[in-house]
Amino acid sequence: MSKSPLKVRLAYAGIALLLLAAPFLMGAGFGNSWVRVLDFVLLYAMLALGLNIVVGYAGLLDLGYIAFYAVGAYLFAILASPQFDWHVSAWIILPMGGMLACLAGATLGAPTLRLRGDYLAIVTLGFGEIVRLFMNNLDRPVNITNGPQGINLIDGVTLFGHPLERGFTLFGQRFPSDYAYYYLFLALTLLVIFVCIRLENSRIGRAWVAIREDEIAAQAMGINTRNVKLLAFAMGASFGGIAGCLFAAFQGFVSPESFTLMESVMVVCMVVLGGMGHIPGVILGAVLLTVAPEFLREIVNPLQRALFGRMIVDPENLRMLLFGLALIIVMLFRPAGLWPSRRRREELEEAHD
């Protein structure tokens, strides 16, 4: 590896320090609930990066991505909870979750990937709904998923014999589990980012981009488009499955409500709003779309009081209304996303000339 200039290395060191200190800064500044938000930011970043492979690189619109998240989460919940009284270690379930989701992605992808554009979108959407409906209804005749009530009391992750949900003590100060999970998620997110960067510059990554730009030309260049698309689907799915396992362990509770179509749509929004196919952009999208609703939750009530002197409308609705408006405004002013890749920006500028 070539040596980077001092400035770049200092910048990386700064980012690393900031990432390591983030939960303490957040916790001290805004309270522990914001550390939890930070954990979700990382979970969604993993999800968005996984979907970015499918939507951003390969250009396949997947509206049922949350189904793979659900598969991972339910696998974890079933294998590590009092539901069947199985308590398999998280470190065994995590790779299993990735593989099961990968298998689910391949099973869905194999027959459907020859569909074009929006037909694929609707099939994936249907698949997502089917998975959710099964989870919602598989409590009889045999109780597997415990139906709409969901599965409770899921085991957490244990790291070197230390259960993460007990939190940790540093300089005589107790820190709750959210802090501990932050570091686990951070490590895995960095791993996912690393894999994504390597994929992007690989033969497969270039094949994906080629298919996105022009499928027929890609085929003419000798790319086996079906296999390569299937790979994108399966790989994106496996990231979703792993994120799902982590979600179940972190939350300690899963129910079908966490895996609605709206969640899929939110992850698509993260990818597109951030900047399709551009890793920093997608992460930015995940950060903004996870933090924005929480931030709005904090400010809508004071805002209403300041403006009208009393509460006029339901804060929950006002918050989502502002969120929707923000989505529209951002896309109107930055149609290629907030932080598009250089190639994409150039394409757009070319198109306008």
């Binding site: 074009r116 099939v123 929707g324 923000a326 529209i328």
Partner: protein
Amino acid sequence: MDILVQQLINGLILGSIYALIALGYTMVYGILGLINFAHGEIVMIGAMVTITCLNLLIGSGVELPGLLLVGLSLLMAIPACALLGFTIERVAYRPLRNAPRLAPLITAIGVSIVLQNLAMMIWGRQYVAFPSILPAEPHQVLGASITSLQILIVVLAAAMMAGLMLLVHRTRLGRAMRATSQSPQVASLMGVNVNHVISMTFILGSCLGSVAGVMVSANYGQAHAYMGFLLGLKAFSAAVLGGIGNLGGAVVGGLLLGIIESLGAGYIGDFTGGFLGSQYQDVFAFMVLILVLVFRPSGLMGERVAERP
């Protein structure tokens, strides 16, 4: 046998409503290549405005037959929805016409979230009841029952669909719409005002959608701020099932999806020996959708066309 007829009738009613909504999706898709995610919300607003007008009319003590009251309320709701559809296109889609393909999808989702929450602010979180002023006496057909209201729904839906077909295939505007859907550039070279045609498409789709919304809420006796979401999803699936962009396909897809769904609800228990109950009706509908698309990748009536650049 009775159950079969009953489920077919239920499916026909549900299906004709789906078809009306699906037409709105398919017209917009045919011309812009855009999934108008906010269309379901227009359906919901149509139902809500009608119910509000009805309550106002009844509250003001007007003594008129129920049907006339609903008709009067529709005179408020249809223009309101048409205006809404027109505005949505102007604000959220038109500025993005040359943007990357997924950008208008995100604004559509944004519009949908905004409208849902706006509706919740105005009409509350609870179900809103549809005043029971419409004729509901049941008729017996082949051992199954159907109310006058339901007959009216099917007839009105069929009439509206026929009207739309006439408009698209027999009028100047319809010809302009068909030309625009084939190629906006060439159509504009031939003197078609493409922006005007697109606005008209949204207005027409919204009119059909608002009436469909009233039909749903009248049939079930209630409306809710979230009702547009699932209805829109089903109707969009129906449009895809028939071959998106194809008007006839939307009608066939809508009717088929409605019938599949109600047959699924009625028979899924028998098919699986009681293993799966009627709560799986949506699973059944989506399974059929996926299977149809696997074997006919462009929908039932869609033509095989090359992907648009």
